[in-house]
Amino acid sequence: MTSLALSCGPLEAEGYVVRRSGMHWLHDDGYVCRPNEVIGFCNISLEQASGRRSGKFPLAGEMELHVAFAPRIGGRLRISDGNSPGGYLNALGLHVWNPNDVFGYLEEAQRDDDAAQANPNPGELRLLMIAGRRMSELADTNIGILPGWHSRSRAWWCDQPGSDLSTLLCLGLCDAAGVVRGNETPFVEAFEATPSPAHFVYVPDHPMVPCAPILLEQLLRSPAQNEALAADLSAGLSGGSVVPNADDWMFAGALLSSLQNSPMREKYDVLTPAGLRQLGPADTILLSMAAEVRSVLRHKKLGYSVQMLRHRQTAAGPAIRSWLSSAFEPVKRTVDDVQRDYRKLIDAVAAQTGARVVILNRMSTSGFEDITSYAAFDAPLGDTLENISAKEMNLMLHDLAKDCDFSIVDVDAIAADLGGSEHLPDGIHHSSAMQAMVRAEISNILNTADQPKSN
């Protein structure tokens, strides 16, 4: 029986020494792994090369930085001794990256498949970089992949020098997050299904719900406006009648971070086999139509919008709740308002960054209903009945697509094909089979789109 040595391959950052921790294995010795399936990971750190002057470190804001390893071909994993000392030695970057380090072997390797034929060194592991920017540097939990609380997390295959990395930024709710970030090991499911060069970024839906008016305001807000709203938030918390507690301050910090940053404008440092590169703002932005809430809170004095999903509001303390009820007023949004907000956002994104927008529509049917009369449901029915609301919103989206350049992922049709009650029981949380189909649909949209803009 032949075996194939699994080496870690090249990873460089000019001016820096790449260091790695011991290996965390995600599978046991003897596991039969698939091509592109992540089997283990190391933590990564950068150390300034000798003679280099101190300066800003690349990726310095991303205190979680891992490289995950995946075989190019399938086979039975045999783990070499000595690469996984455990404890803090599996967390600290004690080893200088050596592309020839061998972590294990593949037995019964499927050398005759296309991936093996295409690569001169089929035993060189694929490298999936995974990075997380903590919501606070206090949120350190050095266990596993992307532990803790992150304001942004991302991943990219970094084993193809010179290839274009196209960035997909996920600004959606659970329906989009599950497709991009996944529900098992972060990003691993998505990248196993996306073997081509790609860079996926996930920004969570908290504390603010990523609906069109909030995203638009983030994109267009000036530094002076950022300062004004920070001063107002500070005065509102400290000058109110309710003494803020720890929950209030935590919530306020996360809220301010969310208000003052636009993920759509952000640029990205990436490590590649050929060195460090900087990517421009995202090429594609993935949104959930389920995020288009029918009411937002508008600040009475400064005019900006906030809104949180109901279960997020419970994380706020009494002072934040008091401030939200006194300094803001609710503003209802009709379907026409949502369409107008989408149009403004898509146009602004096109003008500011050139990114393409992709929107997940909503499941609009329920197998649990047996309506025989609408008499018991207040008009307008779209404000009362979920299925009518979803149908109206889906129609609005299709109408908008006639004269506005964006793409729709037809979650409604996919769920109907698969079976909504089994794969989308509450209309927002997908099964893994549903996620895989939505992921494939997004991939089709991206593959048929224009080439990504140059960074």
Partner: protein, 122 residues
């Protein structure tokens, strides 16, 4: 004839529902199409570390009945199969004895609204 309303399994994964709104009280005369109650169904059984999979439903009667006994209150959690209310189809139906059948109802998913128990500052 007496008929009963028990919590049906609106969603195959649910085990219970919370009473969010009540639109009738004991003694109410109801006709087909009248609202009876709103329910919330939390598929995480009310304790989710993550985004809670909550849906809201309205229960509407589909026949002319008189509400004899209302066994639920706002905020109550009911298990699937639990008796929620007893009705009579005739004015002079006896108020004792086993119900002969289930109440005919319609159930539909609705949006959360400000009149719900979970929206109150409880």
């Amino acid at each position: 004839m007496r008929c009963e309303l028990r919590l049906t399994r609106i969603n195959p994964n649910m085990s219970a529902a919370v009473v969010e709104s009540l639109y009738a009280k004991a003694g109410s005369e109801m006709k087909a199409g009248d609202k009876l109650c709103d329910l919330s169904v939390d598929l995480s059984s009310g304790f989710s570390q993550y985004c809670p999979p909550i849906s809201y439903y309205r229960v509407v009667v589909r026949e002319k009945v008189r509400l004899q006994e209302l066994l639920i209150g706002l905020g109550d959690s009911c298990d699937v199969g639990q008796l929620m209310a007893v009705f009579g189809t005739e004015q002079d139906d006896p108020r004792e004895g086993a119900p002969a059948r289930s109440l005919r109802i319609t159930t539909a998913a609705i949006a959360h609204h400000s009149g719900m128990w979970s929206a109150s500052d409880r």
